[in-house]
Symmetry: C2
Amino acid sequence: MARGRRPGGADTRKVVLDAARRRFAEVGYARASLRSIAAEAAVDPSLVVHYFGSKEGLFRAVIEWPFDPAVFLDQLTAAGPDGLGRRLAAGFLGMWESADTGPRLQAVFRAAVTDADVTALIREFLTEVLAERLIMVIGRERAEQRVELALGTLLGIAVVRHILRVEPLAGLPLDELVDQIAPAVQQQLGGALTVD
Amino acid sequence: MARGRRPGGADTRKVVLDAARRRFAEVGYARASLRSIAAEAAVDPSLVVHYFGSKEGLFRAVIEWPFDPAVFLDQLTAAGPDGLGRRLAAGFLGMWESADTGPRLQAVFRAAVTDADVTALIREFLTEVLAERLIMVIGRERAEQRVELALGTLLGIAVVRHILRVEPLAGLPLDELVDQIAPAVQQQLGGALTVD
């Protein structure tokens, strides 16, 4: 890239991200080539590399968007461990429910269970970004295990509700679902913590 | 089929099932044609139709094998609702653990979340075969919802452990995992039931 030449700016970056999101959702991670994403965004492939480094970097940018992990976890954990089960259930399942983030999470999940390279990416994201912050908040023995059980529970509920779409769970209002699941999540995070 | 002509017998049926299992695991439900399965089994496609009716019938035969729902559910439910959470957790996660049934369940799950026609098949299997029997045993208000929450929880744990392979959950001995998860599952099946 020649010095002084701005290859696009914030708008172009967003156009590439949107194109990548569509391609990953349509054909999965493995089959969405960097070249096809560039074509969808109507930019040169070198520009995609300039912004995101690689297809993996691009994917990471796509998957981190819906989570916004810093903001999400700050909101969840600001009040400490009490009631964390309910807040985590409401926050996690709320993202799957949202018209904005829901379809993206579904695409990420489908890629995570079918493509080994994406699996590794998601594993890293779960453990280093999401779980690590939660572990700091609950601060109990076997904290990692507790967080993984709680996230696993919520992930399974999201799959039954939004991917397998099994009734009556699929049609249950979100607040009722959170009422049903919060005690189990709280128990997994730490049996002795207050269930609100 | 001409009268009096036996088109293969039990061995041929098994050869076709094994071939189908391999094809579904390798390329997924949508891309495994009935013709390619017949070719893999070295039989005529009409023979596959004779035994299983259709590709869907064949797939159902493949997915029902690892579960063996009648035996599995009889063992789980014979003792009634008390301790059902633990028995369900041990039975369900034990099948994912097994060298025999585990890889088949993974293949089924991957197909279920990526191919819409398999999703419908699995949804039907979950609700009409697995959930219905459990609902009869727990016999409480909102039984369907309770069973789906419990199965969703266990499914999510299985995904984190066996597909995403997140540590420490992936490496935890099965009996310790069951100890951790049984109270939550029992609570979902019915809060007032005995937790053993």
